[in-house]
Symmetry: C2
Subunit: 390 residues, 2 copies
Amino acid sequence: MQLSSRIRAIPEPAGNAWEIYERAQEMRTEGIDVTMLSIGDHDTITPEPIIAHMAGAARQGNTGYASVPGMAPLRAAIAERATLRTGAAAVAGNVFVTPGGQFALFEALMAVTDPGDKVVMIDPYYATYPITIRAAGAAPVIVKADPDNGFQPDLQDMAAKLPGCRALLLNTPNNPTGAVYSRDTLNAIAELCQAHDVWLISDEVYDGQIWEGEHLSPRGLPGMAERTIVIGSMSKSHIMTGFRLGWVLAPEQVVNAIWELAIATTYGVPGFIQEAACFALTEGDAIEAEATARYRSRRDLAVDVLRGANGLRLSAPQGAMYVMVDIRPTGLSGIAFARKLLEEHHIAVMPGEGFGQAAAGHLRVSLTLEDDALVAALRTLAGLAGALAV
Amino acid sequence: MQLSSRIRAIPEPAGNAWEIYERAQEMRTEGIDVTMLSIGDHDTITPEPIIAHMAGAARQGNTGYASVPGMAPLRAAIAERATLRTGAAAVAGNVFVTPGGQFALFEALMAVTDPGDKVVMIDPYYATYPITIRAAGAAPVIVKADPDNGFQPDLQDMAAKLPGCRALLLNTPNNPTGAVYSRDTLNAIAELCQAHDVWLISDEVYDGQIWEGEHLSPRGLPGMAERTIVIGSMSKSHIMTGFRLGWVLAPEQVVNAIWELAIATTYGVPGFIQEAACFALTEGDAIEAEATARYRSRRDLAVDVLRGANGLRLSAPQGAMYVMVDIRPTGLSGIAFARKLLEEHHIAVMPGEGFGQAAAGHLRVSLTLEDDALVAALRTLAGLAGALAV
């Protein structure tokens, strides 16, 4: 029996970005104590008040089909947050609640691209972008962001590639690089989108994790709200990765189109999860502040330990919960280094190659460990880099 | 800004199947006491042990990213159930856990059809089938099931239409009609699928709600396991509609293909929901039995009240939680009758037209109300039909 061509075309031809992570998981089931600095998941569980709110909502009877676009108070809370964070007024009708930011991205791509359409994305990229674009039947077009230019996107290359494309996918603060795009960069990108009549899909799930400068949403730039679709999520801000709650923030015509797609696919997000998210957004400022402060302090710590250490280079992340370590002076690829680090020292990080060619020879280290253990792991990493430096 | 052609093509050209339901919801927010017999949602909340299990799993720390194909014990429990219910051995590797049966259907369609491929489905159909097929970029091809033939599919028509199609979508026990397909019917369908090399997608979310005869899964017929994808769900069996937990049961190549699609879209189902479902499947037999007994007794009650009542006809449902009432003797369409019943008597049912042309002049009544109130509502419905009968 033959599978569809499209589903066979989804996987990355280059192979498995998750090799190290999966090997680390295997080692853990074998009883080996592996230090996990690989994926972007928190090292703490979701705060109790959020769990209690979810359980309470279920016990009060919110266990039937929930509102498909999202319950009104949640959409309103997201709109209020979006108005503040993106700098352009949003109303509940601009919000569509999704099972996770990943699905929000898929819905956005379904709404603005047809099969075969081209979508520009920046390399290094979040590991699932190319497969999500292909899952929607569109084709990724890569614009590089040079590590030696602080991982800022190459605007000349973008200007050359954008004509004829349907959409541009941005992510600032950026995963994996930690780059935060400047106002000048975003202004230039906004002009390009308008000149070439391109949709801008802006993944802003790290919008609260800013260590240098400020978060700017392209949605807030003149003339951009009508062509910008913002992807948001509770995962990183409120320690709710496992709740799978995200959203699309978009012009109402996009929201209405996604509504029909959601009826045909996920049929809404569990009502008790929506209530938990609504509580977290309206009364969980302290939770978000605490999580953010934790990552800020770990980021500072990581920069202290790694900067100037033998055999590696570092551009200090301006945002997000990762550090990109440049191990090119060791002469090893990111994959080879990550394998060595895992097998010899039981520390799991993500090889840069999993995030695109521009991140080759790098490691993405997640700041998902408490201070002492994090420092110890980073020193081990730096020691290995020093021993290998050519 | 232009939306994609494909997303604009999803909605039903005939308009809104949910008109009556939405109007009923509106009336309720206006403070009107509407009897809801419209959608297939339970009138009781999810049993406390399932909610307690979910909350406990979250509190024990299952709030991070969960296994994307589903946690091993849940996949094993689903495989065990599937082995019993479909009559063909299944292992965990045949199971992929999804956020709801609706999404399982979407993933199945993505896996076996390419854009433009044709998919045969039976009319009357569950209201979202055509939009789900179109959301996957495929094209529905309709085969009718005549109400005067107990809503069994027209096999001659199917034989004529199946050549050149990529897949056939079946649903037994059937929503909305309550028809359960016989062994002869399913054998004939299986032969057609093999003769024309067609995938069979078998929606069996009502597999436990059987009032006459027995549930037969086409997956259990000779040579069919390799070309059959079964859609399952916790929604109806364990009163868990709002949990959005379903699954695909399929050959391993399909499961592996869907895995990549899931990474690109939903990135798994919340771990605490998976744990609740695992508990319900392994220790919730009494919950399922109680829910099933309730619908069986209501179904018998409904048949007693409606059969032979003036101005309407009834084919007693062989399965599922609905009764299809034939109101053609009144001369009204299902929509006109449902509107009248809602506006004059504040009872909401689904007009047959929302489920396809073959269900025109029918009403689908959900058995989602306790006995006395259900009987009263059905008597009112029958009285209106009697008064209108020509």
